[in-house]
């Protein structure tokens, strides 16, 4: 049974997402959104899906995965190949959801394949296996013929729109949030908090680890399909470990285990590099400095105290009431 508090929190998250979507749509229809802004909407959705799904592994299961881009690329190639072959046979309305399903399923199968070593490994060893898996996928894709090799897979129909991407974001949120607040989600979190205690309570470690892993892989694959249908060209080089790290940065910045945090951080981290574009050559430098400073601030005692004081100023009365 779901507690009422958790359910209310979930509804607030949905409301935030729908609200942000509505505001964006209003901006588009009133002509206040520039072309540049509109081109960033689908990438934002893709990053939200990626971050939310990776958060399931990193934040909820508590295992470090450096191969999320690998699942993304498997899904992207599967979905895009499906769309290319089905382009004449099916209209876009049916083809695109089917492509996403296909990409997600293929990625989930790879999630099972990678998940089996996961059952034995922990911590940094698991991280390195996921990283190795991502790199293997990348070099195999470059060496295959039907994936277009190093030149990339071209001519995928551009089916992805902001509205369809948003629908997928909402579906991802519904699945992940419901999973987290379900019995299975609590089992997964118990593995993070204390695997031995969880096992002694009869929780099957392997089964639940694999569940979190496969669900995350599925959504990473779906995000990859949207990516492919947005840019219409896929190159294996896009999905290297830097991409995995980019997603991991979003998850850590947003706060481990916080789905809402992942959403906000995904938006910030997609917009920030674009917003820094005016700095041209200094862009990456400033980005790196911001990253380090945020991390240092999140651990600094003075900043934490300041945060508490700010909270007391804004929510002081409310906190006081709750204490009574």
């Amino acid at each position: 049974m779901k507690s009422n508090k958790a359910r209310r929190k979930n509804y607030i998250t949905y409301a935030i997402a729908v609200g942000a979507f509505a505001v964006t749509m209003i901006l588009i229809f009133t002509g206040n959104a520039s072309r540049h802004m509109q081109s960033m909407l689908v990438p934002i959705c893709i990053n939200i899906i990626l971050a939310v799904s990776l958060n399931l592994v990193v934040g909820i299961l508590g295992e470090l995965s450096l191969g999320h881009a690998g699942f993304m690329s498997v899904g992207a190639y599967a979905g895009c190949l499906f769309s290319i072959y089905m382009e004449q046979m099916l209209p876009a309305v049916i083809r695109f959801p089917l492509a996403m399903l296909a990409g997600g399923l293929v990625a989930a199968v790879f999630g099972i394949i990678v998940g089996i070593p996961v059952l034995r490994l922990k911590g940094d060893y698991l991280a390195i296996v996921t990283l190795a898996f991502g790199e293997i996928i990348r070099s195999i894709i470059i060496n295959l013929n039907f994936t277009g090799g190093a030149a990339g897979l071209k001519n995928t129909p551009q089916d992805a729109t902001f509205i369809s991407a948003f629908v997928v974001v909402l579906l991802t949120l519904i699945v992940v949030l419901n999973l987290i607040s379900s019995k299975q989600g609590r089992a997964i979190m118990s593995l993070r908090d204390n695997a031995i205690a969880a096992e002694s309570c009869g929780i099957h470690i392997g089964y639940y680890k694999l569940m979190a892993f496969v669900v995350a892989a599925f959504f990473a694959g779906v995000a990859g399909v949207i990516y492919g249908h947005n840019y219409s060209i896929l190159t294996a080089g896009t999905f290297d470990y830097n991409k995995s790290i980019e997603i991991l940065v979003i998850v850590v910045l947003g706060g481990m285990g916080s789905i809402r945090g992942s959403m906000i951080a995904a938006i910030v981290m997609t917009v920030l590099p674009e917003a820094l574009r005016f700095l041209s050559d200094y862009r990456m430098l400033i980005y790196a400095v911001i990253l380090i400073v945020i991390m240092l601030c999140s651990a600094s005692q003075t900043v934490l105290k300041l945060k508490e004081q700010l909270k007391a100023v804004f929510f002081g009365q409310k906190n006081g009431k709750e204490e009574i």
Partner: protein, 291 residues
């Protein structure tokens, strides 16, 4: 004979990986963090040599010394500024900071040297040795011998000196070591200094093996050395040496006999298989969890 010369160049590549992996594994052992910026120290070391020789006209040995000193200062500074304040925070926070430092080094290098590849000056003037059908490149031989000497010295340093003992103590239990009067901050700084010095040496050998250096050159050998460190059992010093050498040999032999493009995939594939059978790496200690 062909096989033997491939094996030797594999060993030479492997000893470069081993030098980098030693830095990874020592830092991991002592600070329990994955220093993702370690790969970029290699790039800094190699660029320092380029500047010393091409711009300042220093002799090779002096250039190498300057490059090693640069990397030591850089490594210690990074630890002091970016990692030390995070010593008590979550491992992932430190990991992301290390990634930030890595981006920082890459973008600074790109601003200073541009994004194009720079040719690396010829620092090792050893002729190719020909024994019957066996060909050994002079470069490979020097890399191999110097790395072997460094590894022996490092093993002696960690096993026999007071500082080495302190390092082992800190990696075992930081708090207990502090109670025994060991200066933990100093020990961690020394570890970073040694790791960075090894990375500088690796950078020089890497540059003279491949001949070109760019701002992103460090990241791939960095990742492979990380793989090597895990392969041997992260935190274990002989493990890092063994892992690095094994990785170099596998990579070179698969390049020679299977496929150049797939060599990375084979290296990573072997790693996964090894970890399936030995989940804590080749020489990693299996720690029993006590409840």
């Amino acid at each position: 004979m062909d096989f033997l010369s491939n094996l030797i160049s594999g060993l030479s590549l492997g000893s470069i990986y081993a030098l980098i992996a030693l830095g990874y594994t020592m830092v991991y052992g002592i600070a329990k963090m994955l220093n993702f910026a370690h790969g970029d120290i290699i790039m800094v070391g190699a660029f320092a040599v380029i500047v010393c020789i091409n711009t300042c006209g220093l002799p090779v040995w002096l250039a190498a010394v300057v490059s090693i000193l640069c990397c030591i200062v850089l490594g210690v500074l990074i630890e002091r500024i970016a990692y030390k304040p995070l010593r008590r925070s979550a491992p992932l926070t430190v990991l992301i900071t290390a990634i930030g430092v890595s981006y920082l080094l890459q973008s600074v290098a790109q601003l200073v040297f541009g994004s194009e590849m720079h040719s690396f000056p010829k620092v090792i003037s050893m002729p190719t040795i020909q024994i019957g059908e066996l060909t050994i490149k002079g470069n490979a031989l020097v890399t191999l011998v110097v790395s072997a000497v460094i590894m022996v010295v490092l093993t002696l340093f960690i096993g026999k000196t007071r500082m080495g003992k302190a390092m082992r103590a800190v990696s075992e239990d930081k708090d207990a070591a502090e109670l025994m009067g060991i200066n933990v901050n100093k020990t961690i700084s020394v570890t970073f200094a040694i790791g960075s010095a090894l990375a500088a040496v690796a950078g020089i050998f890497y540059g003279s093996t491949y001949g070109f250096i760019g701002p992103y050159t460090g990241s791939m050998p960095g990742i492979k050395a990380f793989v090597a460190a895990v392969f041997g059992g992260i935190g274990s010093i002989p493990g890092a040496m063994l892992g690095g050498l094994a990785l170099g040999i596998i990579e070179n032999l698969s390049k020679a006999y299977i496929s150049t493009e797939l060599s990375d995939a084979i290296v990573f594939g072997v790693l996964i298989i090894v970890l399936l059978f030995k989940p804590t790496g080749l020489l990693g200690k299996k720690i029993k969890e006590k409840v």
